[in-house]
Symmetry: C2
Subunit: 368 residues, 2 copies
């Protein structure tokens, strides 16, 4: 029976629609379990650029820091190669600024959705994996610190014409801490870690593999393997049930989890938690968001699947507020609605009832 | 009725087994169509490191340059993070040194293999796409030129500990030439180009997208779209038949084609051609190799699928020797053997006869 503050950053596109439904579900949880959730809303992304002149303001960052957790919708639109300010910088500032280096992306295949995927049910059956994506290093950062020597990211004029450069940098400490997160989580799961890299090409992956071998030695009860990222992209859809925890660097994690979304039937099903080491008085401080984007093509049409955001809210309860019973209640409610045959547009299936964003949110809220 | 010289680089693991079968098929083509193929063999990869002290010798590079085309098996073993010399450097020296910047990786789903994939037949049916992968730029290069300023790749000790750095660099000219290859090929196919990048994060992708827009304007009859690499990893297995030509940078192409191999049932089915601009007196000078690796786990066991290499030989005939009828003959022979129910280990299927590497090669050779 606690009191909690959550900063909600709806963002762009379908962001507002899906976060609204997650808030509705959290409110029901509050009533049912006697908690008080206070929601503070603020702008990020294109919405913030339009209203405040930047993708995320210092005031918003501060609001986030003062709350117990952050719930985010989606950020960005169609990439504009010539835009001076990118809406995605809001995400990078949040992730890097608040040191959310560990991005957890669970992928489970629900029995009732086995047929929704383009992958054969017999291949999917039993899939239950977790991608631990490093979120504050690698190619994503450089553009935030263009003046850091040796870590540039820019488009520049040279004697040989125009060229563009990005830098993939990892320190040993950054690699070690994400690997420890993966191994620690694996101990409470099926005790297997797959470390994904491109060690036959990249120096950063060579260092990654070395550190991984060293960390693995501290976890003798966890089965450990290396896999090249190209091979992983194949095996993920060839033998998904063979994975437990996959740990990898930022961009590889981005690509592999979008691919892995097909294991769950749709991207609209996949939540995520981004965590650091800071604790509030309730739990680990964290940022929660669906893995899908802002989907500008269907924004405002009540067509988006709110489940990824609702399940992100469940992760928020579990990790940042340490309300695991409440988190379970949401996950069970989602499963019940799916089992009862309710679907959203992205999961359209013959013989099943397709609901809009709002109606699906309400169904889940009342099933809680 | 020509005379042609082909340099064969079997390489490591299953490389020797699969190139041997491709040579057998080429010999039959020679007899049947009255051509003389002279094969020169040389070492690359671990084999060359062991025998000659380096992954590929200057003499071997010269041999390649003097031939009409190169047929390669596979290179490397299990990545050794602490090895001073990487066997893969043989590939990078060949690709970069001989300026094979355009890597063509066709992915077709054969009707008889529809059930071999983990993806549903109704999703696969009709898949016929071509990935045009940039092969001489990006994150792959840097380690070859560690002393080039602004383009480092290394593991180094700093005041803050050990760190590793890789550099993703593309010039406008490099981007433009690969895009033109993609558009030129698309004109002779289904007239659609999908350019894949990560323009919401990378400077190199922002430049890529700008150049792509400019090049696309020269091809008004070709449908053109951009797709983010993460979204592409999803859509490739969600709606594979919607793609015609996919063009992308080096590492994205590497990851996406391994994933795409599941569309063809197995990696063992996918050939590739790496081309530059140099012409021999017969055609475009090129390097041909299966997209699969050296598979050390099954090497020497007569279990590897030789089809990817045999189809690479067909591409060699088509592009470097301009013998398209002969290329067709090989492709038809492969299809016939598959249709007749012959499979290799990787495509094991109930009711089908599984052949070893040699037996499959011989079947195809006699079907030519
Ligand atoms: C919007 C984009 C910058 C972001 C990323 O690449 O991290 C998204 O794809 C994600 O996975 O959260
Ligand atoms: C062996 C490896 C270096 C190579 C690459 O990454 O290019 C391989 O995966 C390929 O696709 O040809």
């Amino acid at each position: 029976m606690g009191t909690y503050t959550i900063t909600v950053l709806p963002g762009d596109g379908i962001g507002a629609e899906v976060t609204t439904q997650a808030i509705e579900v959290l409110k029901v949880i509050g009533e049912r379990y006697g908690h008080t959730f206070t929601f503070h809303q603020a702008l990020v992304g294109l919405a913030a650029i339009a209203a405040e002149g930047e993708p995320i303001s210092d005031a918003t960052i501060q609001l986030c820091q003062q709350s117990d957790a952050i719930l985010l919708g989606a950020v960005g639109g169609i990439p504009q190669p010539d835009a001076k300010v990118k809406p995605e910088q809001a995400l990078f500032r949040l992730r890097k600024g608040l040191q959310f280096f560990a991005n957890l992306r669970p992928v489970r295949t629900q029995k009732a959705l086995l047929d929704a995927s383009t992958i054969k049910p017999e291949v999917l059956q039993g899939t239950d994996l977790l991608v631990v994506r490093e979120l504050t290093g690698g190619l994503y950062y450089g553009h935030l610190e263009p003046s850091t020597p040796g870590k540039p990211s820019e488009i520049r004029q040279t004697a040989n014409g125009i060229e563009a450069i990005d830098t993939l940098l990892y320190t040993e400490a950054e690699i070690e801490r994400i690997l420890r997160v993966a191994f620690d989580i694996a101990k409470g799961r099926h005790k297997k870690v797959t470390s994904v890299d491109k060690a036959n090409v990249l120096s950063s992956s060579v260092l990654w593999r070395r550190v991984a071998n060293r960390v693995a030695a501290d976890y003798p009860d966890v089965t450990f393997e290396h896999l090249l990222v190209d091979a992983c992209a194949m095996h993920l859809i060839r033998r998904p049930t063979s994975f437990d925890v996959i740990v990898t660097e930022n961009l590889f994690g981005d690509i592999l989890t979008d691919e892995a979304s097909m294991l769950a039937g749709s991207m609209g099903m996949l939540p995520s938690a981004s965590l650091g080491t800071r604790r509030t008085k309730h739990g680990i401080f964290g940022l929660y968001e669906p893995i899908h984007g802002s989907a500008p093509d269907i924004a405002g049409q009540d067509k988006a699947n709110p489940i990824a955001t609702i399940l992100s809210a469940a992760m928020l309860l579990r990790y940042s507020l340490e309300l695991s019973q409440e988190a379970d209640a949401i996950e069970t409610a989602v499963e019940q609605c799916i089992n009862a045959g309710y679907r959203t547009e992205d999961l359209r299936e013959e013989g099943k009832e397709v609901l809009g964003t709002k109606a699906m949110g309400q169904r889940i809220a009342s099933a809680v």
